[in-house]
Assembly symmetry: C4
Homo-oligomer: 186 residues x 4
Amino acid sequence: MEAFSDGVLAIIITIMVLELKAPPEADWESLRPLIPVFLSYVLSFVFLGIYWNNHHHLLQAVRRVSGGVLWANMHLLFWLSLTPFATAWMGENHFASWPVAVYGVVLLLSAIAYYILTRTLIACHGEDSTLARAVGSDSKGKVSQVLYIFAILASFYRPLVSCGIYVLVAGIWLIPDRRIERVITE
Amino acid sequence: MEAFSDGVLAIIITIMVLELKAPPEADWESLRPLIPVFLSYVLSFVFLGIYWNNHHHLLQAVRRVSGGVLWANMHLLFWLSLTPFATAWMGENHFASWPVAVYGVVLLLSAIAYYILTRTLIACHGEDSTLARAVGSDSKGKVSQVLYIFAILASFYRPLVSCGIYVLVAGIWLIPDRRIERVITE
Amino acid sequence: MEAFSDGVLAIIITIMVLELKAPPEADWESLRPLIPVFLSYVLSFVFLGIYWNNHHHLLQAVRRVSGGVLWANMHLLFWLSLTPFATAWMGENHFASWPVAVYGVVLLLSAIAYYILTRTLIACHGEDSTLARAVGSDSKGKVSQVLYIFAILASFYRPLVSCGIYVLVAGIWLIPDRRIERVITE
Amino acid sequence: MEAFSDGVLAIIITIMVLELKAPPEADWESLRPLIPVFLSYVLSFVFLGIYWNNHHHLLQAVRRVSGGVLWANMHLLFWLSLTPFATAWMGENHFASWPVAVYGVVLLLSAIAYYILTRTLIACHGEDSTLARAVGSDSKGKVSQVLYIFAILASFYRPLVSCGIYVLVAGIWLIPDRRIERVITE
């Protein structure tokens, strides 16, 4: 399961760069319209990197896998696979309201899918398992979901505020998930 | 063999999303023509997820691999690799007759290729092997093939009925292949 | 090295299918111009399948890897990576002379690169190693290279004869490399 | 971490070939405008091959991985993922000044990211570890960075000189990283 998920995540990350199309002219000005596309790419690269990182740590605590877990994982990969689309739409339209909102929806549904995956894994391992203690109260996950909802609503008034919130959430997560590392080390 | 198949399946699933092209406008209406493309994507994502799932379970019961098995696997990957094409054609033409029929043909030939793979594996392991008992009578596989043929014929009269049948088959398979899991656990 | 090569081969095989672009119309006639593109795809799929198969068998006999081996492998992957380009050019131009010749050149250079890889591996393992005996005289490889050269020359007179030769070579190789399997079993 | 990095590198290498678009005509002349695109592809293929090779050798000396290491690796993959964009821009504009400079910037930032990765790994393993001794003074890496800076500046006067410098740096690295191999063998 990890090899397949790693493969899908690697491909999602890499095909996003296909949206950075080389301009036909060779001067510096022709790169300027690519700046918002590039910034969107950086943001999505970081988000997918965070998912890969946390997913990787999560699976290290996994001892058994059920059919439900496989599908919960598939469900997470589905929403993550929409990231290149949302990234391209947001970047090409210079962070306009609707694309920024749709980007937030994809982030929110990915976060919910990750939450479902952790719950399915805990149901499979038991509430007092290493995995359950490692996931813990998942306050970061809950805060992120609230921030995403706020950002989606804000995008119709001030889409750049929403983008700021996305950057903020990425910052919260960039601090790696030490909870799981700590409990495993114990 | 599993790593290579996983890789091919991961790439097939992910390049399908390239058909979801970001519209040049930033408003909500511009997403509407993408709805059938999106629905086709969801359907194909589920089908490829089912194949990955069942393929993964099947290979867990495999003890030896012959040249014939490698090519039966290649043959399955060939038909599955046509899924992005059939998905794009069906989605972009809003579920018109011919695309829906071709989509069904790709599903049918993939199902037949999966059947050939199981028979080649059983020939290699013996009729009384764990693998042979795990595959069993494969009634789900047979029912699916009959339903695909029916859907291909129906597509020239009522293509949406065919789509309904595809969703039905996906539903039948979403219940994971517990037969193999059960026999392995025994 | 095997994981990386498997990944590259899986991606080369799968991105070839991106050349099969879904036509904008939904009728049967619109598929007709895709037939040569489809046939080219089938041919290249079989060739890449053969390379994966033989590469897989070859690496099973490998005991050590040097820097030279890594680069000989990279060199093989380089020529194989040009297959999607040659396939697309040949299919879209309905098997015209130059594209058929270029396709043959890519096949020939891939075959030579595979030969170099086997020689580098044998130099690393010794002439009396299992690997050296498994590779043996490699008469299939030599015959293929002669046939490719003949097909490249023939393409300027009768390109369809060249295509027939490519199919013939694929047929020779589809019989899996039992030599290596046999020696390993011994 | 290695499987994921291998996957990303395999995909980056392979999607670069998508820039080699099959021309609509079937004659020899139609290939001529592709020559600079092809040469850029060869250069980038060699650079990514070098990174894969050195990364592979480096990870063989790795004993433990921290969150910081995972992100230093992600950071390297980010700059490498921009290679297809820089390659396409440079090839399509026949090695004009700005594209050649941007290509050099991507190479330079990748080299710096690789340096950061080695420092993070050494910080994690200790200055007297096998890994630290294997990386050594990294004079090749330092020379490359100086050459890249020189090539970026030169690109605004004589871009072909810059390209010559890139080829020179690739030549320096093509000699595989025997330092690490040697220390590991010891």
